[in-house]
Symmetry: C2
Subunit: 180 residues, 2 copies
């Protein structure tokens, strides 16, 4: 059975939505996801590094992120035909570990936690595919990457891109057919 | 550069020493590491499952484990010739994440946290070698395993075994020579 590794932030969990809402409320800005097409979160709030740190490092920030549309249903389906691994780059924000674990157990209870990986560089992840919004991680990964569209990667040219989970599903249906 | 993955509990950190001390003090037993040669921790304290859970799931349990002798010096040396990855099966005790991260930063500050992996099954770890005391993890791992001696694995027959960190060092000096 082939293995699919799946990133969390921006792929399963709407990280940027909550981050923008929390920071806008905290420092009085009114940025939207549109702004993330030209700047990163760090650049948007470059005048507020301490506030950004405080928001992202609070123990509960990652606990109640919204689930990206259709991801639950499609990951559940993929789970029938592939081994699913969740690979999240948690080492930048170690305080996020516990909340991320609980979030996964709540929203993806059908996944086996023995295949959750909290890591840094995804070069260490042994899998056939990686679905990620971060081009650096996809370039570091040794298998086939699928770039999951997020504002920050819209202008990047990459071999396989999915704009949403329905496109991820279509890609893997084709992969299954190929393997017959 | 070849990559060595290293387990934490019983290999870098003296998990069983603190666990026995804490449980003996808590429930009035007087077990030692000798007892772990015939029983697992779970079996030893089978009459005290709630107490064992409480001890191991306290947020700070993993924060002050003793460092296994010579591991710091030898990992630092290996770090010059190999890429070092720390791979710990943390998913059984998610409350341990934060303490394990801080422990690693304190005792192995020369290692890059981007190569820390908190996982379950080590089949997902992409590395050339894995040093682990758990035979199940070594059997699941896809590279070359090194069984690090601990009471629970003394009777197991395995191709490569190291009784201590000096033996690990000797093994990798030989591997380096082979690769010339």
């Amino acid at each position: 059975m082939k293995r699919i590794a799946i990133d969390m932030d921006e792929v399963l969990a709407d990280f940027s939505k909550k981050c923008l809402e929390a920071m806008n409320a905290f420092v009085g800005t009114s940025f939207t996801k549109e702004d993330l097409r030209v700047k990163t979160i760090d650049e948007l709030y470059e005048s507020y590094p301490d506030e950004l740190y405080q928001v992202l490092h609070s123990a509960e920030f990652f606990r109640d992120l919204e689930v990206i549309p259709h991801s639950q249903r499609i990951v559940r389906e993929l789970n029938e035909h592939f081994q699913i691994v969740i690979a999240t780059a948690a080492m930048d924000i170690p305080t996020s570990f516990d909340a991320k674990y609980k979030w996964l157990r709540e929203h993806f209870p059908f996944l086996d936690p023995q295949y959750f990986i909290f890591c840094g560089d995804k070069n260490v992840v042994q899998a056939d595919y990686l679905i990620d919004d971060n081009i650096k991680q996809l370039n570091s990964f040794t298998g086939q990457g699928i770039l999951f569209t997020a504002p920050r990667n819209e202008s990047i040219d990459y071999e396989v891109r999915a704009d949403n989970w329905k496109e991820v599903h279509a890609f893997f249906l084709t992969e299954q057919v190929k393997s017959y």
